[in-house]
């Protein structure tokens, strides 16, 4: 694992505080959260519910702006960027895999995968070509014109992965990617994510509760009470009953 640690840093948060509400209703989600992920690395964020995993993921993704601290993704400081600049940054550099897939049911599989390319301003023809190639890569050739709801959970998550990677983002954000999948399908999906993310110009951050997939991580950051408690390379060091 030391090889990954030696790679240049892809994501870094330092002294990040994040709270919601104020006065008596104030809830602190992150307290001086320091986090690092390296290029070419698949890192998992784990911890009990309410420990701040999703908030930290949102901060890294630029969908939430922290009250204090710095956030740097592939050399770009996100804190201080306007909403418009954050939107542009996400469009160019981020790919998302969501817990509930978030595939648009009224669009075909191919159209769902085309979405990030079209958001980037690619022409329809270019988007079709790239989306087809990506679907072939995730093993869904021949299913392009089907509806997402007609696919199994595993296939839907493959479509989501194809959508997340079709525009070749630097940072892939995965939020509970296997929570809706059985053990074997979850393992297949994680193997695919791991294989597709193996590039020095890419980094994958996965938030998960699913200890069955810890083995796919290069490193695991354990969170507690809004902080990174520790980072381990060996999943066996974690007490999975606490996660």
């Amino acid at each position: 694992m030391s090889t990954h640690a030696a790679q240049p840093v892809a994501v870094r948060t330092h002294g990040v505080d994040m709270f919601f509400g104020d006065g008596e209703t104030k809830v602190t989600a992150l307290k001086q959260a320091d986090f690092e992920a390296n290029r070419g690395e698949l890192i998992m964020l784990v911890g009990p519910s309410g420990c701040g995993k999703t908030t930290l993921l949102s901060v890294i993704a630029g969908t939430l702006t922290p009250q204090t601290g710095t956030v740097e993704v592939f050399g770009q400081r996100l804190d201080g960027l306007s909403q418009e600049e954050l939107t542009t940054f996400r469009r160019k550099h981020l790919g998302f895999v969501f817990q509930s897939f978030n595939l648009i049911p009224t669009l075909s599989v191919l159209e769902n995968v085309m979405v990030p390319l079209l958001i980037q301003g690619a022409s329809h023809d270019v988007a079709v070509t790239k989306a087809r190639a990506m679907l072939e890569k995730v093993g869904l050739k021949g299913r392009e014109y089907g509806q997402p709801n007609a696919l199994s959970g595993g296939q839907q998550q493959r479509v989501a992965i194809a959508r997340a990677l079709v525009h070749e983002p630097s940072l892939l954000i995965c939020d509970e990617p296997t929570s809706a999948l059985d053990k074997d399908t979850g393992a297949q999906i994680m193997q695919m994510v791991r294989d597709l993310s193996r590039s020095p110009e890419r980094c994958v951050v996965v938030v998960t509760h699913d200890h069955r997939i810890f083995r796919f991580a290069d490193r695991i950051a354990e969170m507690e009470d809004g902080r990174i408690r520790r980072v381990v390379e060996d999943a066996s060091l974690l007490d999975t009953n606490q996660l």
């Binding site: 993921l57 969908t63 469009r91 969501f98 669009l107």
Partner: protein, 396 residues
């Protein structure tokens, strides 16, 4: 993205059908009710429409075409002497009772025209000759009147059958015989009664020797004389009121008899209010149903819009997607609604009533209102989506 926006819209067929129903019903109500309203209102200025003459002259107190205040016959000579008048002909209009062969009475509109020139005569006769009006005790009846005044008899199936009046049939007006020598085609009157044409002089007999029978004068300007200017000259020289016969009601000209008649009925009857209520109801139903349906469409797709936002789509792109969806639904709903209104209108016209006139203004106004409804729906959706935090996509 915009093609995908349309695919999102068309992909949800149940929602789309609901949305189109709301918009189409709204467009139908607005277009159909407005067209029937203008159709009925067009009947108010039927005399001007049926009796074509460049200028109408009336008593100065007359406000509209159905409001005849008889003048002296000598007024006709005064008008003829006005500089710029090529000719002037008398016209009589009055409501009278006609007694049919079976003893029934019918309210008729008697129109007396100049026997020398036939100025004011109906343009189209489906039976008979206009010259036969010069024969004693003769009249021409309009097709609707011939039907209305027809004899009712039992058909082979026991149902009532109307045998319309025809050339040669007679009825009585004030105990004087009226023999039909022609059937004409004219637009129906607002009052619904038949038009009975005869000569101006004979109306003096049918009206039992009324002292004044000159309801209007029909005037033709000399070649090159502007009708508006001649109207002003007639008013200045005679103290009477002169009108143009322009039947376009969308005119600012205060001299248009048709326009004044239209607006007189607008101000003095409850017709605009009752039809206006139906149109407002259409608009309200459209906004309520379409807005609610589109809002629920947005709500159902909210997590996908949030995902699209998280993926880096700006609010501008999402707003345009929602606008395209709403306006496309609006256009389709408008097409369906106005198409249905036209179909209903055509069926009505074939049956003869109620009248149906879809002015281009109605078409465009309905389009604007339906697109307005769609725009309101889209704006509601845009506000909702703009308030959604992209970070919500990570909350399961």
């Amino acid at each position: 993205m915009y093609r995908l926006a349309l695919n999102m819209l068309f992909g949800d067929r149940a929602k789309l059908a609901m949305l189109l129903c709301g918009l189409a019903f709204s467009a139908l109500l607005m277009a159909q009710q407005t067209s029937v309203f203008f159709g009925i209102m067009s009947w108010t200025y039927t005399p001007v429409y049926n009796i074509r003459a460049p200028i109408w002259v009336s008593d100065p107190m007359v406000e509209q075409a159905n409001d005849a205040k008889p003048m002296r016959d000598t007024d006709l000579y005064r008008v003829r002497s006005v500089d710029g008048v090529a000719w002037a002909a008398p016209l009589h209009t009055s409501f009278l009772q006609a007694r049919m062969q079976d003893g029934n009475f019918k309210l008729i509109t008697m129109v007396g025209i100049d026997a020398d020139t036939f100025a004011g005569a109906p343009a189209v006769l489906s039976q008979g000759l206009i010259e036969d009006l010069r024969l004693p005790n003769t009249v021409i009846v309009d097709e609707w009147g011939a039907q209305l005044m027809g004899r009712v008899t039992k058909g082979p199936d026991g149902k009532d059958v109307v045998i319309p009046l025809k050339v040669g049939d007679t009825f009585e007006v004030n105990d004087l015989e009226a023999r039909i020598v022609g059937i004409c085609k004219v637009r129906r009157a607002f009052t619904g009664g038949p038009f009975v044409y005869t000569t101006y002089d004979r109306t003096k007999l049918y009206t039992l020797g009324a002292r004044r029978t000159l309801s209007f004068m029909l005037v033709e300007p000399q070649a090159g004389v502007d009708p508006d200017k001649l109207c002003a000259r007639i008013e200045a020289d005679t103290g009477l009121k002169a009108w143009t016969s322009d039947t376009v009601i969308w005119t600012w000209s205060d001299r248009s008899l048709a326009r004044n008649t239209f607006w007189w009925f607008w101000k003095n009857t409850g017709i605009p209010f009752s039809f206006g209520t139906a149109v407002a109801l259409g608009l309200f139903v459209g906004i309520a149903v379409s807005g609610q349906t589109f809002y629920s469409f947005v709500l159902e797709n909210l997590k996908y819009f949030a995902a699209i936002k998280a993926m880096g789509a700006g609010m501008g792109v999402i707003a345009r997607m929602l606008l395209i969806q709403a306006l496309t639904a609006g256009l389709l709903g408008f097409g369906l609604g106005v198409g249905m209104a036209q179909a209903i209108g055509r069926a009505m016209i074939e049956k003869g009533m109620p009248p149906f006139i879809m002015f281009p203004q109605i078409f465009w106004a309905t389009l604007a209102l339906v697109l307005g409804i769609s725009l309101v729906s889209a704006i509601i959706g845009i506000i909702k989506v703009s308030r959604v935090d992209a970070a919500t996509v990570f909350r399961g």
